[in-house]
C-alpha cells in the first residue's frame, strides 16, 4: 500500500488550466485571471475567485465548473471564496490567453482603450461600433479593410 501523494497547489493550478471560461471557451479560468489563490494548507482545498464584472452571470458557472473539475479529480472538500480587492483587471489575462483570444476572433485588451488590429486580417484600420458587446467584458468593433465585425475585450 502506497500512501496517496499529498495534493500540491501547483497540481491544482494545473487542473484549473483545463476549466474553460464558460463564455469564451478557448481560454481557461486561469488565463482569465479570476483564480487569485489556491490554498491546500487547511482542511481540503480553498480556491479564491474574483469576479470580472460585478454583474457577470458567468461567475456562478465559473464557481460551479471549478468545483466540478476538482471533484472529478477526487477532491471532495473544495471551499470557494470570493475576493473583491484588488479588483480584477485585464492586466491579469495571461499572454497565452491573449494569443488565444485573437486566434478565436476577439481582439485582446490594450491600454490605449481600443484594439491594436483586426483579429481576422490584422489591419490597423478599425472603428468602434459600440462600447458594449455580447458579454459584459466585450465591446463591438469593425474592420474597415476586411469589413468584418469583431469583439474587442474591454480593457479595465
Amino acid at each position: 500500500m502506497v500512501a496517496a501523494q499529498p495534493i500540491t497547489e501547483a497540481q491544482i493550478w494545473n487542473w484549473l488550466e483545463d476549466v474553460p471560461d464558460p463564455e469564451i471557451p478557448v481560454i481557461s479560468v486561469v488565463d482569465l485571471g479570476v483564480i487569485r489563490e489556491v490554498d491546500v494548507s487547511g482542511d481540503g482545498v480553498t480556491v479564491t475567485i474574483t469576479p470580472t464584472y460585478t454583474g457577470c452571470p458567468a461567475m456562478t458557472i465559473i464557481s460551479l465548473d471549478v468545483e466540478l473539475a476538482l471533484a472529478k479529480r477526487g477532491l471532495d472538500k473544495v471551499h470557494l471564496k470570493t475576493r473583491l480587492a484588488p479588483a480584477w483587471t485585464t492586466d491579469w489575462l495571461s499572454d497565452k490567453g491573449r494569443a488565444r483570444l485573437e486566434d478565436y476572433g476577439i481582439a485582446p485588451p490594450q491600454p490605449a482603450g481600443g484594439p491594436e488590429r483586426c483579429p481576422h486580417c490584422h489591419s490597423k484600420n478599425v472603428e468602434k461600433v459600440s462600447q458594449f458587446g455580447s458579454t459584459a467584458c466585450k465591446a463591438q468593433w469593425r474592420c474597415r479593410d476586411c469589413l468584418e465585425p469583431f469583439d474587442y475585450f474591454k480593457c479595465i
Binding site: P51, Y53, T54, L84, A85, A87, V129, Q131, S134, A136
Partner: protein, 253 residues
C-alpha cells in the same frame, strides 16, 4: 462602535441607487433605438444590478435582522427605498434615459473613487470594484449626451426637454443630511456635497459640448434618499419589479 443604523441607511442608499437605475435601464431591453444601444443599456443595467447585490448583501449583514439581498430588493415598499429621486424618473425616451444616467455617472465616479479609501474595508472594496464600471459608464453616457445634444434638430430638442425635466432632480445626490454626517464621523464616506465641484465640472463641459444650456436654478427636489417623499413613479416601477417574488414567495428556478 460605528453607528450601525447610519451604516445600514448609507448602504441602502448605495444599493437602492444602483438597483432603481439598473431596473429602469433594463426596461429598455429589447426596445433600444438600435441594437448596439439596446445591448449597451442592458449591459449597464447588468453592472448596476451586480453592484446592487454587493451593497444590499452588506446592508443585510449590517442590519442583522435575518433579511438577505433579495428580501431588501423585492420585499420593501416605496417608503423604505433610499434612492435619489432622479433615478426613479420614467425613461420617457432615449434622450432622457441617457441624460439621467449621465447625471448619475458624473456623480458616481468621483463618489465611488472617494469611497474606495473608506475606513470601512467592505465599502472600500465594493467602491473600488464599482468605480471601474462607473468610469466606463460615464465615458459612454457623456459621449452620447454630446452626440444627441449636438445632433439633429429633433435629438437636440429632445435633450432640451429632458434637461428641463431632469435638472430639478439632479441636485439631491449632493445634499447632505444627518445620516451623511454620522457616516463622515466614522470616516466611511465624505459628505456628498464635497462631490459637487467635480460633478459641476463634468456636467458643465459636457453640456457645453452638447450645445445645451445649464439651467440657472439650483433648486433640487429631495425626499428620495431619506424615503420621506418619493415620486408617484417608484411605486409603479416596484409593482413590475417585485411582482414575481411577491406573488410566488420563495420561488426559485
Amino acid at each position: 462602535m460605528p453607528d450601525q443604523n447610519a451604516l445600514f441607511e448609507f448602504l441602502l442608499r448605495q444599493g437602492d441607487n444602483s438597483l432603481v437605475l439598473g431596473h429602469r435601464l433594463s426596461e429598455w431591453c429589447g426596445m433600444g433605438p438600435v441594437l448596439e444601444e439596446d445591448i449597451a443599456l442592458a449591459n449597464t443595467a447588468l453592472d448596476l444590478i451586480g453592484q446592487t447585490r454587493l451593497w444590499l448583501s452588506y446592508a443585510a449583514e449590517v442590519e442583522g435582522a435575518g433579511r438577505d439581498e433579495n428580501d431588501l430588493a423585492y420585499l420593501r415598499d416605496v417608503y423604505d427605498f433610499r434612492n435619489a429621486l432622479l433615478l426613479e424618473m420614467p425613461n420617457e425616451d432615449f434622450g432622457r434615459t441617457i441624460l439621467r444616467e449621465f447625471f448619475f455617472d458624473a456623480f458616481q465616479l468621483p463618489w465611488l473613487t472617494a469611497l474606495s479609501s473608506s475606513a470601512d474595508e467592505r465599502v472600500a472594496e465594493i467602491a473600488a470594484k464599482s468605480a471601474k464600471e462607473a468610469s466606463y459608464h460615464l465615458e459612454r453616457s457623456a459621449e452620447t449626451v454630446i452626440a444627441l445634444g449636438d445632433g439633429t434638430d429633433e435629438s437636440h430638442g429632445k435633450m432640451v426637454t429632458a434637461l428641463e425635466y431632469l435638472w430639478p432632480f439632479a441636485g439631491e445626490l449632493m445634499i447632505d443630511d444627518e445620516v451623511d454626517h454620522a457616516i463622515v464621523k466614522e470616516a466611511i464616506a465624505p459628505l456628498p456635497s464635497t462631490i459637487k465641484p467635480a460633478w459641476d465640472a463634468t456636467v458643465n463641459t459636457t453640456l457645453t459640448d452638447a450645445m445645451l444650456t445649464r439651467p440657472d436654478s439650483d433648486f433640487a427636489h429631495a425626499g428620495g434618499r431619506n424615503g420621506v417623499r418619493h415620486t408617484e413613479h417608484l411605486g409603479h416601477m416596484l409593482a413590475t419589479m417585485q411582482i414575481l417574488p411577491r406573488s410566488h414567495p420563495g420561488a426559485t428556478w
